[in-house]
Symmetry: C2
Subunit: 239 residues, 2 copies
DNA sequence: CCAAAAGTGTTCCGAATACACCCATGG
DNA sequence: CCATGGGTGTATTCGGAACACTTTTGG
């Protein structure tokens, strides 16, 4: 039987993109019965790993339980293991009380993960919160979010991560908005299109945007196979 | 009292540069008395962490014990935590026998570290081995070395890591050789100089190379303070 | 004077930037 | 017919790549 390993955990910073805003998924910490300490603090989704479990699988398990989604993009980006990271003391008390485990020191492997907001089927107690304005979280979770965003900003410049956040059918404008939201800067739309439209794995659909009171935009999809085939010949995503 | 935490370790991939060759520091695994299994296998330097120890400090401790050096460049780059990474079985038997600890599963935080070969004052049983030809190591250490090199190749393009590997006084040619060794490709020396000579934190010394039977090269040093001051205005190390 | 590596400039090409107007639709 | 965002082209600048000869020293 698999048992919990109380020394190592995974925490997931789950990003989602909701028309113009980049968001993070946070969980309301469970209240402790008869305890004033509970407050409304929020935390990142995470779990202690199981004894016989791969680290990545543990992160996938966390995501699956929370969002109902499989096959999510997931990337390990940093470890947080300071011996006193489980502070302030109220947070630790809460953890011990709610987990029923004699937790002492937990080294946590942090992942960031990207999901399509539309697909997610959230369980209760979760909140999508704008990344640019995250409230105080338990433990070192604010630091973890900050580092996750930095990793995403770095890696979205060279990897096709944007398609994990966009819906299956998307417009070029949505794609540009996403880059702007993540990088925190404005991009010139002519130059942006000039750069990405030639990419061979970006496939225009028959379909156009509907029900908008202006010229409807062309819809595109991302072709994974063409990407894999062409990734070498392609200058890439250096935006 | 600080005790060992038998669930988490650090492993260090220590790189050194020795006229034209990039090398990794490996340790001869201690022989087990009366045991045929011992062999001559090599391993990476590493330690279980102490209970109350920062992860980085644990890595610094490993380096200090091994090389006598303080203030070494160190970077956490990935975690290896597969439940069956402590295989093959002979390696695990060796570990249990030699460490006297009921090790079961160990999640290891991998660091790469850069040192100036000349400064190091090595203890016994260590071997500098060329990176392009690493023999079979214990556990998953070959994978760890491979990933460390990839991380170094990525990060040396944007961070001033080369100065950690070069002697205090160095020539442009040495610097170029280092980049070539790490990136595994040849660089045009005129273009290389054109790119790096304008960097304001690269200070020419009065001194020149001596005792060479050709035109002696100018020696330079790296100025950390100027680097910190100018890093924003500088295009950087995009080689 | 010969061998060996240091050091130096120019041309060319492709990528990045800056910038302003017409188009298709819904209301 | 008007408001709204979609979609397009050109000129300029900057950085990267290719390329060969002269200089200084030791032997």
């Amino acid at each position: 039987m698999a048992t919990l390993n109380p020394h190592v955990s995974v925490d997931c910073v789950i990003f989602g993109f909701d028309s113009n805003k980049l968001k993070v998924l946070l969980i309301e910490r469970e209240k402790i019965a008869n305890n004033e300490l509970s407050g409304h603090k929020l935390k990142l989704p995470g779990n202690l790993i199981l004894d016989n479990e791969e680290l990545d699988d543990s992160a996938y398990r966390t995501l699956k339980e929370l969002t109902g989604l499989d096959n999510i993009f997931l990337k390990q980006f940093e470890v947080f293991g300071s011996p006193n990271r489980l502070s302030p003391i109220e947070d630790l008390i809460w953890l011990k009380t709610s987990s029923n485990i004699a937790v002492d020191r937990v080294v946590t492997i942090a992942y960031y993960s990207l999901i399509k907001l539309q697909d997610s089927n959230l369980t209760d107690k979760t909140i999508w919160h704008p990344v640019d304005n995250v409230p105080e979280l338990v433990f070192d979770h604010n630091t973890i979010v900050k580092k996750a965003l930095e990793a995403l900003q770095r890696e979205i410049r060279t990897e096709p991560l944007c398609f994990e956040l966009l819906p299956k059918k998307f417009t070029i404008r949505q794609m540009q908005n996403l880059y702007e939201a993540i990088l925190g800067e404005n991009l010139d739309n002519r130059n942006f299109r000039k750069k990405i439209m030639p990419l061979k794995f970006l496939i225009p659909l028959e379909e156009k945007e509907r029900g908008v009171s202006h010229k409807p935009a062309q819809l595109y999809k991302f072709d994974r196979k063409l990407y894999a085939r062409h990734r070498k010949e392609i200058s890439g995503f250096n935006l």
